[in-house]
Amino acid sequence: MNRLRSSLYFRNVTKTSGLIIAFLLIIAVVGALSAGTGSSLTLIIPNFFITVIIVIALQMFTGNSGVVSWGHSAFVGIGAYVTAWLTVPAVIKSDVFDSMPSWLLNAEWSFLPSIVVATAAGTIVAALIGIVLCRMKETAMAMSTLALLVIAHGVYANWFGMTRGAQGVYGLPQNTTLWGAFGFACFAVIVGVMFRDSRVGLRLQASREDPLAAEATGVSVVKSRYIAWVASAALAALSGSVWAQFNLAFDPSQFYYTQVFAVLSMLVIGGMATMSGAVIGAGVVTVISQVLYNLEGGSFFGMEVPRISGLQQMILAIITLLILIYRRNGILSWWELDEWVRKGKDRFFPGRPGSGAGPLSDKKDGV
């Protein structure tokens, strides 16, 4: 990477992630202020941050490569279960896990080490599966990630001795705080933006637009997809670990296609080409779900990654479909928040020198 390109790269990364993080910070401050007031915001806001991590994980792969993955929830599950194995207090563990080896029974790990190991576990699984998956054509790969989701769900629901089957796991310590979740969300944003503008990211985007042309210019599509697959699965496992230590109990149905749909709809609504789109999508869906939830008159109560029941899910699906028909690239389309700000400036204060997107953010319109 030459000096000009690398300085542009970091300027771009700083600008884009800086604005998103500022946006997240405002929300975090609102969350901090609402602490102790008994407001439901104390649950919604950390969950929103965790959702942001999941959506960015999916964006890293699907957004850059244009290959759909239904399988990321499987990795969220791996992160959550491994975390449960490591952190649940030994007293509860002997009740919850029937056939757990004794060395694991006594493990009572703290926040960060458990996240590291859970992420590593997800990464290893993804690295193995990715060898098979990334060789396939886009359509076959989409199907195989769906198969992966079903396989993972089958394992979570039936490996009774280690997962307690459909009854689910409980007893995790509450290690994730508002600021912990905020920190990891910021981490995800930075990783996501850096990845998108990195060499692998750019190659992937080339392959998204035209795999044959990308191959012809020397891009190894398989290799680029593999790297993105492993990296995004790692982030998904990380989000699962953080999520599990905030919600404290879970069961296999939470890593199945309801969650997959929720995450995909966030990505579609916000716009999957950009990091801002992923974050805004997560925000919009969280807000809509909350409003609908209140409209349904249900009492407000420990909500997980937006818990979507009948009406909420239907309305989200309708919004997703309308977005796909009328604004195919999502609310933010091809531009990050900072680029929208610049576009706005250009419109209202035309002719200022030095405005306009830099070379790395020249994105085409429409498609």
Binding site: R135, V155, F261, M314, A317
Partner: protein, 296 residues
């Protein structure tokens, strides 16, 4: 395992396989002309199921309910094309897949909200439960009917695709849509026809599926679409013979693992079958009978 058991399992695999083949064909047809993997295809089975449920609940004869159920699936398929997928013509694979997924969720929740979120039973004719005995084999009438209907549909479709003008047009459109249009194939008509046949197949498969499970619920479309998706991908997306082959291979794998695995790992038979599928795809990443030409 004795010869009789093997024979029994083969009949199971055949009957399951003909159902999967029907499902996969409906999916492959639409993919062929439009490049869309229609996730809402599973919901066509749900529509058939609920039509039958509501009709039989109100005292309508089972056979009439079956016919109306299949008709509704066909109409629903046509409506889907008109209102959800026509505005998305020429969209990317990803956009089409997402919109069909969203459509599937909408339909599911309509049933969840209007009928009931719970599973409802549907009683089929008592004939289905009876079995005939040939030597050591006992074959249920449902298996016989499934295999017969499956084979009849396959042959009928084969005949249609080979001999009728519309069928040949559809095959041409699946091979190369732009050139087919230059040769005078009407785009809207061929796509609508693909959706009609796809809905018809889904309706027939839906009746068989429901007779097997004996119940309907709002989320019931997920398993059939999954099986159909897997079958078409094993066979090679876009290939109709491949879809049929894939359906039988998937059914054989499932029946095999259920028969062979010891009871302690029996719940994992589905994951094992899916792993086998992924292994097949590792060696044939484009499926067994993939069309040779690269789609533009």
């Amino acid at each position: 395992m004795s010869a009789a058991e093997i024979g029994q399992q083969m009949i199971n695999a055949l009957s399951l396989g003909s159902m999967y083949a029907l499902l996969a064909l409906g999916l492959a047809l639409v993919f062929g002309v439009m490049g869309l993997v229609n996730f809402a295809y599973g919901e066509l089975l749900t529509i058939t199921g609920y039509t039958m449920y509501l009709l039989t609940l109100n005292g309508v004869e089972w056979w009439i309910a079956v016919i109306v159920g299949i008709a509704f699936a066909t109409i629903a398929s046509l409506l889907m094309e008109r209102f959800a997928f026509r505005p998305l013509r020429n969209a990317s694979f990803l956009t089409l897949l997402f919109s069909s997924f969203a459509l599937a969720v909408i339909i599911q929740n309509v049933f969840r909200a209007t009928v009931s979120p719970r599973t409802k039973g549907i009683e089929g004719p008592t004939l289905f439960i009876r079995a005939i005995h040939i030597g050591p084999l006992s074959i249920s009438w449902l298996s016989i009917i499934t295999i017969t209907v499956g084979v009849a549909c396959l042959l009928g479709l084969l005949l249609f695709m080979r001999t009728s003008i519309a069928g040949i047009g559809m095959r041409a459109a699946a091979e190369n849509f732009a050139v087919a249009r230059l040769m005078g194939v009407k785009a809207n008509r061929v796509i609508a026809l693909a959706f009609v046949i796809s809905g018809l197949l889904a309706g027939v498969a839906g009746v068989l599926w429901i007779s097997r499970s004996g119940s309907v619920d709002p989320g019931m479309g997920f398993t059939p679409i999954l099986k159909a998706f897997i079958a078409t991908v094993i066979g090679g997306l876009g290939s109709l013979p491949g879809a049929v082959l894939g359906g039988f291979i998937l059914a054989a794998a499932e029946v095999f693992f259920i028969a062979v695995l010891p009871t302690s790992v029996a719940p994992f038979s589905d994951p094992f079958a899916l792993l086998l599928v992924i292994v097949i795809l590792y060696f044939k990443p484009n499926g067994l009978l993939a069309p040779v030409a690269e789609r533009a």
